[in-house]
Symmetry: C2
């Protein structure tokens, strides 16, 4: 869309929180493409995910966290859901489509007494984060707590993955964002035996592709790549914040994969970057918010710096 | 499982109907892996699928026909479904799980008056096939007709893909079987505007991986590969039937991708082939039925011939 309007083909897409320095693809056995995924391959993937996330909870691999978000509203009869907002729109959208009454609240305490509560931790787009203890207390006061940890790879201190397995707690983990491989379509749900069994029946056999299983296993097992990536991202977020500040934008928050800035006019700011073939993200809830993912290679940083000087 | 029991690693899996001579993978742009699939890429895939299937109907790409089978029971409130049987188990399983009363019937006419009727055409595992006119007449007499054309690539004369788009008719097309790429997870639902919109909402954004979209587009656009493959399969099915006949097995039916034989003792027959590291498929409904997919390269045919002589 932006491409059609501004022309050019070498766009830098900073409109998502997908890592722009992707995990290098392992060589894939031909069988990953030709055969139906086996239970053995899926078990190896889940073992690697369990080790990476520090969890022994029942777990289901799906074609992206989005696939889990589509199914969670069907785990129980529609009732009253509350979502800590603003956040990723699809939680509210899928719950409403399934007949839930959804209230979007802005304080963690306002989630109490909901039949289903959703917290994205750390949150997208503003990076707000909640401590494990707060969330565990909340879990005891709601019918079911869904913690979407799509952006938690760099923040294991926040993760409840190790507490998943108990009743009425669901933890979502994205693969594609941190590993920079969103096209692979892979994500995980961690939960109680009964919830994972129900979600598994909804998903049916072979929900995830053979290449996704093989790549996921290799990537999640490579802890040194993960550690180096966390270190790189932590070193680079201040650089992005400094560039934004030089433009007069104020940091509202963020994670290691994206930053949210308060700008005088988000539409104008986005358009200014688009003229340099850099695409960023605005939000319906504010005329001032602009979210930028971190650039990847040096040339991307250079173009962004130049665009922000213009 | 068979591997654990009989040992060896170079098994020939003839237990499925997946083509063992796969479409050669095109080179994949890195973006297919790294970025979320775009609407433009999905539109190109659907255009290629529409051309290959001879259909202009509304269409949705999913991670396999199985994903469609999971969702179809939710298109309307559970009522009475009838399935032309025996056939692929998952149709009955998903309908029952969603609360439908399911009757498995053995004659096409017995499907009439069902709120939802399922016909696999040509049928798995026995290859029974139904003419377009019969199915169109049936469509007028049931609440909704689902025609699963997972094995119809070699039989365009049977396909109702060109009639999809009208109300209350759903056509399913598999990608992985005929193209020998089941691990890719790709299939299509063709149907009315409202059914495809409802299924699309159930699936949510990005259900199919970037590589699946790119490979599917390339494969479905390569009509000469498809024609050559149909010709090869047609030439080879008599060869498989002759091998089976030499063993005293009687052909019960089949498609270009698999054959169903009547054997004196299916368990013994399967075990005999397993000793040669060839895996085949038995069915709960018969002690005599054994289904074999077609071998691929010459060495696979040689081993099967030797195994059947033993």
């Amino acid at each position: 869309m932006a491409q059609a309007r501004f022309g050019g083909t070498d766009w830098i897409d900073l409109s998502t929180g997908i890592n722009r320095v992707a995990f290098s693809l392992p060589s894939l056995p031909m069988q990953a493409w030709t055969a139906l995924p086996t239970e053995a391959a899926t078990a190896r993937l889940l073992a690697a995910a369990g080790a990476a996330y520090g969890s022994q909870a029942p777990m289901l691999a799906l074609p992206g966290v989005q696939a889990a978000i589509q199914m969670i509203p069907r785990l129980s009869a529609p009732a009253r859901a509350r979502i800590l907002s603003p956040t990723y729109d699809e939680h509210a959208a899928t719950l409403r489509a399934a007949g839930w009454q959804v209230d979007e609240v802005t304080a963690l305490s306002a989630l109490e007494d909901a039949d289903l509560a959703v917290v994205v931790n750390p949150n997208n787009p503003d990076g707000r984060s909640y401590q494990r203890e707060e969330l565990l207390q909340l879990a005891a006061r709601v019918g079911r707590l869904v913690v979407d940890e799509s952006f938690a790879d760099a923040r294991p201190d926040l993760s409840l993955a190790d507490k998943a397995g108990r009743e009425r707690l669901i933890v979502l983990r994205s693969f594609g964002k941190f590993y920079g491989l969103a096209g692979v379509r892979l994500g995980f749900v961690l939960g109680s035996d009964s919830d994972i069994a129900a979600l598994s029946e909804m998903a049916g056999p072979w929900p995830v592709s053979g290449p996704a299983i093989a790549i996921g296993e290799a990537a999640l097992a490579d802890r040194s790549w993960a550690e180096a990536t966390v270190a790189r991202l932590r070193a680079e977020t201040p650089r992005l914040d400094a560039l934004a500040q030089s433009k007069g934008w104020k940091l509202l928050g963020g994670t290691e994969l994206f930053r949210l800035y308060d700008t005088p006019d988000a539409a104008a700011a986005r358009e200014g970057l688009a003229r340099h073939r850099i695409w960023t993200r605005m939000f319906a809830c504010s005329n001032h918010w602009l979210r930028l993912g971190l650039p990847g290679p040096a040339a991307e940083w250079d173009r962004l710096a130049k665009a922000l000087r213009d």
